[in-house]
Amino acid sequence: MRRIISVLLENEAGALSRVVGLFAQRNYNIETLTVAPTEDATLSRLTVTTVGDDRKIEQITKHLNKLIEVVKVVDLTEGEHIERELMLVKIKAVGAQRAEVKRTADIFRGQIVDATDASYTVQVVGTSSKLDAFIRAIGELSILEVVRSGVSGLSRGERVVGL
């Protein structure tokens, strides 16, 4: 089962490598990973999506918690949550394709953020599955390049991952 794990860690050199190293060392899988400082510059917020059964996820969260620089670990998928991923897609767009790409981008509430005679660059934001669906809708043959941010998430309501 796919999980979104949110980690608050000290914003220090080497902290990220410990998290990534832990996943490699214990044979856990990383599907996406995002990390950036929070409103408190001494802390980073890291979001990792991984796949595993309950037992494996329990081990992952326990081992993350053991890392000295990790302040807090929450499995967002345990409760109601919001997840977003940002994607930029450069798409071949000539002739009739131009209108088709624009229409598809509109359906997915994407924005065209760059254009040339032969291509559009579309920004799409949403859940990972929505981004997957957009790629399918455009069709792989027309896609020139894709970059995805990885998943970020927050729990719904007033629950927060804080100190």
Partner: protein, 584 residues
């Protein structure tokens, strides 16, 4: 306020931590620190012959005393040589500080001379590591390093120190913090009282119970509390390889070690138990055999200071996260309370029947009833007999270190440890070459104690250069070499699983004369080839005459001997080979 250089601050911090010994080896990047060592007397430096040995000495010192061991190495090869010793300490949760020199900050990342990314290379085998960024932060980094290494589940901490941060020309204020607070690190200080009550409720219904206790009991200074609870309950006790000594081995309630080479009675009792109290043990693969077949009827209470250990291999019914000593004391109080309120809470008849069964097992295949090790004059000496002779000669009171292999298992089986911290071996990582330097670390800690290293001719050669260090510091450790002229455990597996094809496990024509080798370093060497001479040689090794001498006792033992019991791979705990011809 004092002004000190970074190098001086490191040594002052060691003084403020009450460190007696630093085991190390100098080199370019560490020379400012070494100069600071030269200018003081409080912390004594021990010059080793190889950095791996420095870490094992610090480790042996820590295992024997419970206080953190300290090693100091230079950058590059000094640091990488230390990695095996760090990993050894990590796997067995031993508190250790390893200070490594590093090239100047401005050279980091330029592939400069003797540069290696020590924080990176050691990352998977440390509890934590620090890279010192400036001299000012050294006192706080050192305080944090000691705090992390010694609290919660202990472990090694690396402090990597770029040479420019120890520059004698740069002096800063030194104030050693009394305590550190880390918002991201708060090890459990007590077990949850609700969980403890729940656990006691479960334990008291046990009809075929057993206590399974590991190294965490020793590291957590919980041996007394464990012994008290086990006696209160009247339950049988088994120890892991790392836990030996946490419950008195000569006590009737003790069943011996469990696991791959555990006793018949311990493994049978585990398999047939209905209630297991696991304390400071981690359900290691060398204990459980196939986890899916592990103790099918048992409900399990697991006490551990590390939450990640709980339900890692085997799901448990009642987990308690906390320091073993306080949890066991709290548990004993609840048990007493329950028994006073309701003396019939425990089914004494069932416990009596369980003990009767265990005694039958012990009678049938217990190690001490085994007469097979008796040999006549001229026949090869059985290695088990050598350990038994060592046990008698030292009255069971020695600190015994070992290396890794058959001799390690024979020592674990036949030397009966009644006290914690007396049995010192590399259980988790299984590091050959550990025994001699570990014994030296113990001897530094306790100069008046008898310290014996049970080893084999394979393992001893992995750090034999430390015989020179023993000469320099006059360390009279006693080495008992079970010399079978082969890599015994490898050979045993090749006998049992590879049709007797002894691939790369012998070297008999190239072994040194260990007696002359010991003598070359200025030590005493004794060789025994006949069983008739064993007792006398053992007596001479530990005689008053040799009290201040290192004695290398080289005993020729039977190359074809195997360690038994030995589990049947992929089976349950009751599936064992009991000899070359018997299987459960």
């Amino acid at each position: 306020m004092e002004l000190l250089s970074g190098g001086e601050m490191i040594i002052r911090a060691l003084q403020d931590e009450g460190v007696e010994y630093v085991f190390g080896y100098p080199g370019g990047a560490a020379l400012h620190i070494y100069d600071a060592i030269f200018k003081q007397q409080a912390v004594q430096h021990v010059l080793v012959r190889h950095e791996q040995a420095a870490t094992h000495m610090a480790d042996g010192y820590a295992r024997a005393t419970g206080r953190p061991g300290v090693a100091l190495v230079t950058s590059g090869p000094g640091a990488t040589n230390a990695v095996t010793g760090i990993a050894t300490a990590f796997m067995d949760s031993i508190p250790m500080i390893v200070i490594s020199g590093q090239v100047n900050n401005e050279l980091i990342g330029t592939d400069s001379f003797q540069e290696t990314d020590m924080v990176g290379i050691s990352r998977p085998v440390v509890k934590h590591s620090f890279m010192v960024k400036s001299a000012e932060e050294i006192p706080e980094v050192m305080k944090k390093a000691f705090f992390i290494a010694t609290s919660g589940r202990p472990g090694p901490v690396v402090v990597d120190v770029p040479k420019d941060t120890t520059d004698p020309a740069v002096r800063c204020e030194y104030r050693y913090p009394e305590r550190v607070r880390m918002r991201s690190y708060n090890p459990a200080s007590r077990g949850h009282s609700g969980q403890i009550r729940k656990a006691v409720d479960l334990l008291l219904t046990g009809r075929r119970p057993i206590v399974y206790a590991g190294g965490g009991v020793i590291q957590g200074e919980a041996s007394e509390a464990l012994t008290e609870l086990a006696r209160l309950l009247g339950w049988p006790v088994t120890n892991t390889l790392m836990g030996l000594g946490c419950y008195p081995a000569t006590d009737r309630q003790f069943l011996g070690m469990l696991g791959m080479h555990g006793t018949y009675q311990a493994n049978m009792a585990m398999h047939h138990s209905d209630t297991i109290l696991a304390v400071g043990a981690r359900f290691d693969d060398r204990v459980t055999n196939d986890p899916s077949k592990f103790c099918p009827d048992a409900r399990i209470v697991h006490i551990d200071v590390d939450p990640a250990t709980i339900s890692k291999i085997v799901p448990v019914d009642v987990p308690i996260v906390g320091p073993a000593a306080s949890v066991l004391q709290d548990m004993a109080a609840v048990v007493r309370e329950r028994l006073e309120a309701e003396p019939a809470a425990v089914d004494r008849d069932a416990l009596g029947r369980w003990w009767k069964q265990i005694e039958e097992w012990r009678e049938r295949h217990g190690l001490d009833h085994d007469q097979r090790h008796r040999v006549g004059p001229g026949e090869p000496i059985k290695p088990q007999v050598v350990v038994q002779a060592l046990y008698r000669a030292t009255k069971g009171e020695a600190y015994v270190t070992s290396d890794v292999g058959q001799h390690q298992m024979f020592a674990a089986q036949y030397y009966h440890f009644d006290k914690p911290r007396r049995w010192i071996n590399s259980g988790g990582l299984g590091t050959m070459g550990f025994g001699l330097p570990a014994a030296m670390g113990v001897k530094f800690a306790y100069p008046d104690a008898i310290v014996a290293c049970v080893t084999g001719e394979g393992s001893i050669q992995m750090n034999i250069q430390e015989l020179s260090t023993c000469t320099q510091y006059g360390l009279p450790v006693k080495i008992v070499n079970l010399n079978n002229q082969a890599l015994g455990m490898v050979r045993q597996w090749q006998d049992m699983q590879y049709g007797g094809r002894h691939s790369q496990s012998t070297y008999q024509d190239s072994l040194p004369d260990f007696v002359r080798l010991a003598e070359a370093y200025g030590h005493v060497g004794i060789r025994v080839t006949d069983i008739a001479d064993l007792e006398d040689a053992m007596a001479e090794t530990f005689s008053a005459k040799n009290r201040d001498r290192l004695v290398f006792l080289d005993v020729a033992v039977d190359q074809d001997e195997h360690v038994y019991p030995m589990w049947v791979k992929g089976g349950s705990m009751r599936d064992m080979f009991l000899s070359k011809t018997e299987q459960t």
